[in-house]
Amino acid sequence: MQQALDALGGFSAVLVVLMQFGLLRSRAIHGHAALYAFESLFVAAFSALAGITSGNFELYVLAAVTVVAKVFVVPALIMRFTRDLDEHAEVEIPLAVGVPSSLLAALALTGLAYAAALRLPLHGPLLPHTSFALGLAVVLIGFFFMVTRLNTISQLVGILTLENGIFLGTVAIAPGLPLLVGLLILFDVLMAVLVFGVLVRLLAVRRATVTTTPLKELKG
């Protein structure tokens, strides 16, 4: 039983990373939103499984809040941004790095995350190395995604996945973290969505586009 639970926990952590890979392939906003929702769902599953293993009630609460906030509310908000901007939203998101090279880079980043995580003297009660390493991989790929996708909404999704990665890593090495901290991180997500919402509006109104390329221009 314990063995199967451990394996399922590791499996949901791997699914989170796979969604992150999927994000690199997706070239439309609604694809981003769906993948983010699924990624959050698997993070919640990981948290709930950690709850079963460690018998920590707070992890169930965190899982439930994650499902409500990140599987339903945030993706819905993202979709609303795009609906408002319909006439401005680009059909295909411009990429600084093509899909195949992005995927290879992400593979390399995953390897790097594993190599780094194995050298850290961390031992959690739950599959210590794999899950923490996968959380780290999600963070690295999220950064890569933000750097190479020239669209504010993609970058918003990127920063949200960073939070998913951090949450995964935290639950893996410190499943007993206080509920308040977890909720604060979640609150951060909502703030990020709001701030980015303002940025998206601003760009759309001033520049009639949601790509970030015009931000490079000097103002004077």
């Binding site: 199967a4 451990d6 394996a7 899909v99 593979l107 390897g111 190395h129 390493a133």
Partner: protein, 318 residues
Amino acid sequence: MTLPPVVLQILQVLTLLVFSPLVSGVISRVEAMLQARRGPSVLQPYYDIWKYFHKGRSVPEGVSPVFTLAPYVAFACYMTVAMLIPVLTSFGLPLGYMGDILGGAFVLSLAAFAVALAGLDSGSPYAGLGSSRAMMVSVLAEPTLIFVFFTVALISKTDLPYVMGETLRSSWGAVFSPTHVLSVAAFFLMILVDTGRIPIESHSSTLEFGMIDEARIFEHSGPEMALLKWGSAMKQFLLYTIFLNILVFPWGLSHDGSPSSVLVALLALLAKMMVVAAVVVAIESSFSKLRLFKIPEFMGAGFILSVLAIVTFYLGGR
């Protein structure tokens, strides 16, 4: 009473020969029903094969014997693979150890090679196009398949298909381990590729430009066409069997070789096939065919799954 191993060995090959067209028939029938059509009978592939066997053959001018021999070579290859893998029994049969999982893969690629060669030999532009496309696709699929085999070998510490099934039966932890699930997913994508299913090729299309595997056999006719059609159903059956009885669900196989347990194993295999067929139908009905130049992206996805499987195995909990 137990059946002698030789009889079991023959039964494995017979299972493949007799039931492989049925699986194809069920897939196309269910697919038609999902599209609100009545669809062909599930026995249609048998009727087709019967019809082709009774037709005369015509051979393009100036072809070499390769063209005529290829269907027989391919057919023999598929029958050989059925001896290497656990179709009905969970214990190794006398000839089961003459090749490992890599050996089986080599025999399967020999079959693909023979058919592709015949397509090129025919001199028809469409058959040649099909052959060269099929080769391109299989080159892209190869790395993933090799990584999946490595993963299997790493998990079970051997490359014998019978032992892999045993490893899975022995522990639930092995069944749900990330390494195993990832390599299963990668192998499933490669099955879709190798059986010519939707993201790569539409199976029943008659449009030459979208064809890959089907185009290779354009110039064949009569009994050879029957063998090729039968062979492609057999290839599908073999890949599903490898997928089910080695990688995913190695339960329900006969442990002692008694007639009743073999019958149960046969029924269980067919039931499991129907589940895979349902998944394939769901995929065929909900996705569209990829553009030819998007195929490498699909293969890349499979490759990433298999590489992640290996990385997870070496660097994490298995």
